[in-house]
Amino acid sequence: MAINAVEVQEVSKRFRLYHEKYTSLKEKVIHIGRTPYEDLWAVNDVSFDVKEGETVGILGRNGSGKSTLLKCICGVLQPTSGQVVVRGQLAGLLELGAGFQQDLSGRENIYLNGSMLGMSKKDVDRVFDDIVEFAELEQFIDNQVKFYSSGMYVRLGFAGAVNGDPDVLVIDEVLAVGDERFQRKCMDRIRLFQSQGRTILFVSHSPDQVRAICNRAVVLSGGQMIGLGPPGEAVRLFRETLLEAGDTLTISEHDAPPDTPPEAGAPPLEYGNGSTGSPIVVAPVDSRPVRITAVTARHPGTGERNYLLTGEPITVRVEFEASSATNGVVFVLEMRDTTASMLLRTDTDQLDAHYDVPEGPGAVEFSFDSIPFLDGEYDLVVGIQSKLGGVQYDWQEPAAQFEVMNPGKAVGFISIPHQVAMVSVASDAR
């Protein structure tokens, strides 16, 4: 049914890391044939398809090859092997305002930038006013771009790209620009693009953004695609890779690697669809000093009910197992609704509770006197991290669920106690 808008076919990209770079003729002749270099495969045999109208996120920690892959898709870099097929006009937002000429005015730059995105002058004429309005630069449009503030600069860059008529939009972590209101405007525009059936490829450091707008997400690690699937699962896998990074950090910090042998019996996680070959799966990491063993949500006083009523208390119990005594452990608890919007995030550090855990099992309990939510199912996300938050020992999402039923008639998300009374206007006016 749906046509592929972007086909990434066995794309690999090799960078040669020269220990010394010789660019002049003399140096090249002197060092001919013996330039020391290392091969770095920034992207290694990645294949996936993006269907028309789909929004696909790309997740991965720093150095996982996200940006390289995106540059290959945009055509800024050529893959060493493999190819990318793009159907339709592609607009790449690798860096906002990258094509701007400092000495030209905003107006002239809109036209220049438009032609770089493959628009004709007529196309730009048509959307010119929209661009200026979107960037909120009506007053400054005839000023030279070099006098713009950095905010104005990126606003113009974003406005120029999204007000065009691209079939495929590629966005590389550029949404963190401008004030909150402008960011919301950008997100709204992206949603509009989705509703118009345009294809979006989206790289973000924020798993929340990916969860909020993507249909699917690709997870990269060390240049390889380790997963492709629904955003929730991809985010979970992404967290796994982050945990892996956290572990190496922990080991170097404590200078004594906990020598737990990796368990062979753990079932491998499998994400991805059949068409993309067999993605390599991150091995479960078993060397974490503190791991979550169980998370339960209890609601005392609900009796036989497996849900609670609005306003009833809940207790979340996090059971953990420490493979070695660890100081300064912080437990994090998040509540999310079904659209993955975060409703609450709390941690033991915030609550002024300092925990040094001894080796062996243990448990902490978060108690809530009253849950104000109205109807709905809620996910609990639980994490364990170091005191300063730099090292994540474990992270589970969703770790548990609970359901709330609203006995009253109020509609919405939360219950806020309130009264109503008729007041006399005459007695109020003086």
């Binding site: 960078f15 660019t23 002049s24 003729l25 090249k28 028309e52 109208g53 290959c72 898709i73 945009c74 055509g75 800024v76 870099l77 050529q78 893959p79 060493t80 092997s81 493999g82 190819q83 990318v84 097929v85 793009v86 159907r87 339709g88 006009q89 592609l90 790449g92 690798l94 990258a98 094509g99 000429q101 000495d103 030209l104 002239e108 036209y111 220049l112 032609s115 770089m116 493959g118 004709s120 002058k121 048509r126 959307v127 006013d129 929209d130 309005e133 979107f134 030279q144 008529d165 079939d167 209101r181 919301r184 405007k185 709204d188 525009r189 949603r191 509009l192 509703s195 118009q196 059936g197």
Partner: protein
């Protein structure tokens, strides 16, 4: 190709932040689209369904034909880049574009004084002879030298924005062409002032010589711009080679017929002189603009009479220029090939 009607008619729950822009008159095909978004954003889905979609392949192996097609699609960008370069060059100057006329005018004035008063060589209107060759040479030299550094100088663009990189090199030739136009204007005014008529009947030969010059410049531009990314010496080497050596290999300051023809034929080296592809092109310009083919009476005693231009018929010029065109086309395809091979790693080398 692909219809997006079903996707576009899906209404969105939350309307976007900005208030709707004043709606321009909508083309009739959008009337049927009842999506609130399409109404709010006239640039939206309405027109999209009818547009033909271009398929683009990013790979290490793209043939020359596909890349020529991409360049053709980006021709508007070429125009913008040329305009940008000229605008930027004279930005914030009071006289602006007039400077591009003042520069050649000053050169002409100085030459007139120098060769008319101090360095009298006795050749009538020698400045016209000199400038007719210089016109074409300046186009070639500025174009090729600017193009050599163009990819390196636009590193920011090459690393972040996707467009056929060949356009950058071609734009350098394009802006050299614009400056050629201004120089021709100045030259025309000067010729009226000194009342020196060109060979009117042979004006078409200017085009015959200009086209090979464009192709040749573009070929060298592609070749040198891409090589320079990997070997930064190229830029300096080319400045010396083209600016000094190649320039003097062309009969611009001296005349072929009057200065070197006899000596060359004595040693049987005429062919070597004409291996330089710029020579026939420059001589064609001189033939048309200077237009004096016969003996000119010199005022000096040592060379009482001299012939500055060979007494070739127009067809000889056409054949010579056509040969250069052939060479240019071959070089252009070599240039495209080399550029295509090297362009893949531009972004990481810069």
């Amino acid at each position: 190709m692909a219809s997006k009607a079903s996707a576009s008619s899906t209404p969105v729950a939350s309307p976007p932040g900005p208030p709707p822009p004043p709606a321009p008159p909508e083309p009739p095909q959008r009337v049927a689209d009842l999506s609130p978004m399409a109404e709010e954003f006239p640039d939206g889905t309405g027109g999209r369904e009818h547009r033909e979609k271009i398929t683009r392949v990013v790979s290490a192996h793209i043939n020359v034909r596909a890349r020529l097609l991409e360049i053709w699609r980006s021709r508007e960008l070429l125009v913008y880049l040329v305009r940008t370069e000229i605008k930027v060059k004279y930005k914030n100057s009071v006289l602006g574009l007039v400077w591009s006329m003042i520069a050649p005018a000053m050169t002409l004035a100085v030459y007139t004084v120098v060769f008319g008063v101090f360095l009298k060589n006795g050749i009538p209107n020698f400045v016209i002879f000199l400038f007719s060759g210089l016109l074409l040479w300046n186009f070639f030299q500025t174009g090729v030298i600017a193009a050599t550094g163009v990819v390196v100088n636009n590193a920011g663009l090459v690393k972040k924005v996707s467009f056929p990189r060949e356009i950058l090199a071609l734009a350098a030739i394009g802006s050299a062409g614009v400056f050629l136009f201004f120089q021709i204007c100045v030259m025309a005014i000067f010729m009226v002032v000194v009342s020196n008529a060109p060979a009117w009947g042979l004006m078409w030969l200017l085009v015959v010589a200009f086209i090979p010059c464009v192709v040749l410049s573009a070929a060298l531009a592609l070749l040198l711009a891409s090589v320079n990314v990997y070997l930064r010496d190229t830029q300096h080497l080319i400045e010396v080679l083209v600016g000094a050596a190649w320039f003097w290999a062309c009969p611009i300051v001296y005349s072929y017929q009057g200065t070197v023809a006899a000596k060359l034929s004595k040693h049987g080296l005429t062919w070597l002189f004409f291996l330089n592809p710029m020579t026939p092109l420059v001589m064609t310009f001189q033939r048309v603009l200077y237009a004096k083919t016969g003996l000119v009476r010199l005022t000096t005693v040592t060379h009482p009479k001299e012939q500055l231009l060979p007494s070739w018929g127009p067809l000889t010029y056409v054949w010579a220029d056509a040969a250069v065109l052939g060479l240019g086309v071959v070089l252009f395809f070599i240039g495209m090939n080399v550029f295509g091979r090297l362009a893949g790693n531009f972004a990481e080398e810069l």
